[in-house]
């Protein structure tokens, strides 16, 4: 069975987007495919129960600020076949809410807590979703959102010691170690 066959079979059942083969050539064991948010649950249940994707490797998010979307990536793994399949779900940035899958894989609850804290994506019904995860007493917009200005935040919040300089590591080290050489290294 190849990923292509799997894709074809699954596509017959669910409205999947096109297949992106991440590791073309070789054994081609990592592919990504886009799924509409509404079909995600059915798809992963199908993949888990019928296709042997027994393991949720990770659940993460990408902030597509310009498109106004979050991309959620559910990376599933089939241990028997050693295949990884990434399901991408695009959700709106404005109402960042996604269905929880903690009942499919309990580990998902932890990822979902993290996403909720770092991206502000809500997963209603996920266990302890309201609780703080890593940050304690955070009172700004979620820090992993790209519209969060971390430099500005750090400057406002943490007092600085004056006299800090920034060097380009390459030129600085070269000057330190080989002061005789020309700046270009020739």
């Amino acid at each position: 069975m190849t990923m292509r066959e799997l894709y074809d079979r699954t596509k017959a059942l669910f409205p999947l987007g096109e297949l992106i083969e991440q590791r073309s050539g070789g054994n081609n064991d990592l592919v990504f495919v886009t799924v509409p948010a509404a079909h995600l649950r059915a798809t992963i249940l199908h993949l888990r129960d019928k296709e042997g994707f027994s393991h949720l490797v990770l659940l993460t998010a990408v902030d597509w600020l310009e498109e106004g979307q979050f991309q959620l990536t559910y990376l599933l793994n089939n241990r028997q076949q050693a295949y990884d399949l990434g399901l991408r779900v695009m959700i709106s940035r404005d109402s960042a809410t996604m269905e929880s899958i903690h009942d499919v894989w309990p580990t998902a609850a932890t990822y979902q807590r993290e996403l909720r804290e770092m991206f502000g994506i809500d997963f209603p019904g996920s266990p302890r979703i309201e609780e703080e995860f890593i940050l304690e007493g955070w009172n700004d917009i979620p820090p992993y959102r790209r519209d969060f200005d971390t430099l500005k935040y750090a400057q406002e919040k943490f007092s600085e010691r004056p006299g800090r300089k920034t060097h380009d590591p390459e030129t600085h080290m070269r000057q330190q170690l080989y002061p005789d050489m020309s700046p270009t290294g020739k």
């Binding site: 750090a154 943490f158 600085e160 010691r161």
Partner: protein, 213 residues
Amino acid sequence: MKPELMKRMVKGPDGVEFEVEPLRDYFCEVPPTVMPAAYIKIVEDLFNWARAESIWILGFGTGCGAIEMRPLMTPRFDAYRYGVQWRPTPRQANLFIISGYLSTKTLKRAIRAYEQMQNPKYVIGLGSCTINGGMYWDSYNTIKRLDDYLPVDLYIAGCMPRPEALLAGFMDLKKIIRAGKGEGANQYAENFAWYKENQKRVIHDWDMPDYNW
């Protein structure tokens, strides 16, 4: 405020209800005081000498610098021969090495651990991150100046400093202590309000008493 710290009504076995206020009932509220040195100078000198030669480090690695402390116990560096030991509990430790970057979350723990150490106690800031933030200068959750929050006796610069640098730092610290200048604890008690203000500015969910005895 965490729920477990909120005031709560409790019913005793005799059926009488009363209020429990955890922060008041479970924690000592007394602020720290400045502890004077021994009245007789020669005794204090003796103590300072002993303090310098018996440095017990709190085994608490706050950042990546923690990995630099391990080699000190090995045959290659063997810090024990300088009277340096590691203690697993702050009650028995005298020296707190902030080993690298300190996130606000860890800062809270560091404050707690520091306050639970006994006077006199010393703090070493290890690595650039404790001095000015180092490579985490723009991070949303890492403090940039350790001495705003805890009285630092000594900084060891570098990213990361090698164990030899740490050993050199210990030697310098010994000199400071021998000279009777290792009074960080008293400095902390004197400027308690200032330290607390700084600490509370970065720690938003302050869920402990002001001073952790």
